[in-house]
């Protein structure tokens, strides 16, 4: 440890669940840099709740691998950020501890589920933050709050210590005001970890380059079709025009498997979540289960009281989809769908270097605007394909619609995180 930074923010957006008033830091690439960490990432001796009452008071006895890497490069962990409970949501309204507000317009949501991290960065409370992205949870709030967020290729950042919502889809990733900050943070957290068997030895040692001459950009028709707000589409098209001015070529393309991408996503994540979240029973951590009751009764009591409705809904959906007789209809089919989506991307990436489109189909919703679960799920349609295929995707601010930020999403080939960072950087440099 080489120092300590004071952190007493005026958290008017409810971005933080926990703040560390005195945050120690060491030396290294991030020496003394205040970094916020999403509350589903385990932090040694700092309460980690996933914004759920069922983990209220839980103090991890270990650091997530990514957090350990942050510390070893000198970062100061200044707090834990608000989120949709266990990452289940697109607005951060599903937090067990109240919603986070969008710093650009406090009547609107910051997006989710990494809404607290995005708001903290957007409001200038921290320079950078860790988020997690299962179906868009880094890119959506980055787009809604006007910051940069990268979902790395699956396997590049260790998930060890990330409290699992949907293991096969999610990644920890960097969020920041600038592409450079995001790239720097990615450089610190990427790399092999023997504790995560999906981890790959693909470290990220990259300095963003703005030269994209000759780059071929695929423009999938589905990203500008039904359900995508026309103004948002127009802003994004204009941004893509900027990329063309920088020497890139655009190529129209199609991802037919997107038809069932969202269903495949929700089946996969609810199935995995139903199993991942079964361990929260009030025995080893969390609010006490009544030990005088029989176990099912005691667990039901704790779990129905401490899980929010969206979490219970997704647990039940997953339980249903995995229950006897339905595995083939749902989970197995969803995995085939994922293969088809990967195949679609591979086909497109044979011809283009990156794929570009809007991150979200709309600008940030008004608080409480989306009350129906299914209509909320539909908002994830443009972000989930990258998670299903495991490919890298970044959201970079590309203008405004109705005064609210719009995000440009760049998806790349598997492990081509450097390239999506470069394209985002080229755009950012061109407009600033």
């Amino acid at each position: 440890m080489s120092g300590e930074i004071a952190f007493n923010p005026d958290d008017k957006y409810n971005a933080f669940l926990t703040t560390c008033r005195k945050a120690p830091h060491g030396t290294g690439k991030l020496a003394g840099v205040a970094v916020a960490v999403k509350d589903n990432i385990s932090t040694l001796n700092i309460e980690t709740t996933c914004a759920s009452k069922i983990l209220k008071g839980y103090i991890p006895p270990y650091d997530a691998h990514a957090v350990g890497l942050l510390k070893s490069e000198g970062a100061a962990i200044v707090g834990k950020t608000n989120m949709d409970e266990f990452g289940m949501g697109t607005t951060t309204e599903n937090s067990g501890f109240g919603p986070t507000l969008n710093p650009c317009d406090t009547t609107r949501v910051p997006g989710g589920s990494s809404g607290g991290s995005a708001a903290a960065v957007a409001a200038g409370m921290v320079r950078m933050a860790l988020g997690t992205d299962t179906g868009g949870s880094i890119r959506c709030p980055a787009a809604f709050c006007g910051i940069v967020g990268l979902k790395p290729s699956y396997g590049r950042v260790s998930r060890y210590g990330l409290i699992a919502y949907s293991n096969s889809l999610e990644q920890i990733g960097p969020m920041g005001k600038t592409v450079t900050d995001v790239s720097t943070l990615m450089g610190v957290i990427a790399g092999y970890d023997r504790h995560d068997t999906s981890s790959l030895n693909k470290p990220y040692n990259h300095t963003p380059k703005a030269d994209i001459k000759g780059l071929r950009i695929g423009i999938p028709q589905e990203y500008f079709g039904k359900g995508v707000d026309s103004q948002v589409a127009a802003v994004v098209k204009k941004a893509i025009g900027r990329l063309e001015e920088l020497g890139a070529t655009t190529v129209p393309c199609s991802i037919p498997s997107m038809e069932y991408a969202l269903a495949a996503y929700y089946v996969t994540c609810t199935c995995e979540a139903s199993s991942n979240l079964a361990r929260f029973d009030g025995v080893r951590y969390g609010p006490a289960a009544d030990t005088k009751k029989s176990w099912h009764d005691a667990y039901q009591e704790v779990r129905s009281a401490a899980f929010g409705p969206e979490v219970r809904r997704r647990i039940m959906l997953g339980t249903f989809a995995l229950s006897s007789g339905y595995y083939g209809k749902y989970y197995a089919k969803a995995q085939i769908a994922r293969e088809n989506i990967k195949a679609d991307f591979n086909r497109i990436f044979a011809d283009v270097d990156v794929i570009a489109g809007p991150t979200m189909p709309t600008i940030a919703f008004k608080l409480k605007e989306k009350s129906d679960p299914l209509s909320m799920y539909l908002a994830d349609i443009l972000t989930v394909p990258a998670n299903l295929a495991g490919i890298p995707a970044i959201s970079v601010p590309c203008g405004k619609s109705e005064g609210m930020p719009v995000g440009l999403q760049i998806m790349g080939r598997m492990f081509d995180d450097e390239r999506v960072v470069d394209v985002a950087y080229a755009y950012e440099q061109a407009v600033n």
Binding site: A263, T319, K329, Q335
Partner: protein
């Protein structure tokens, strides 16, 4: 199409509990979502068999365990080094 009885059964299987007040709403939402999932019936292809990673194994080496007080630290109820849990008999 799932019924309220089905939802009740699923809630029991998942130990999440559903109150009678919530049952109607949950069932309604469930049906809308499951109907949406039916699009997967159209998916064709074979179950993925090839995956890039296999035989990811670690050596049989002992690493330190947590001290007992760390193990018990987050448990709401404990007794003589054990963690207290609901009855099963």
């Amino acid at each position: 199409m799932v019924t309220e009885k089905d939802v009740q059964h699923i809630a029991e299987l998942a130990d999440v509990g559903v109150s009678s007040g919530e049952l109607g709403t949950f069932t309604h939402q469930f049906n809308a979502i499951i109907e949406y999932f039916d699009i997967l019936d159209r998916v064709e292809g074979k179950c993925p068999v090839t995956r890039d990673l296999f035989n990811i194994l670690r050596e049989d080496e002992i690493e330190p365990s947590l001290p007992q007080e760390e193990v018990l630290r987050n448990a709401p109820a404990k007794e003589d080094g054990f963690i207290k849990a609901p009855r099963v008999m």
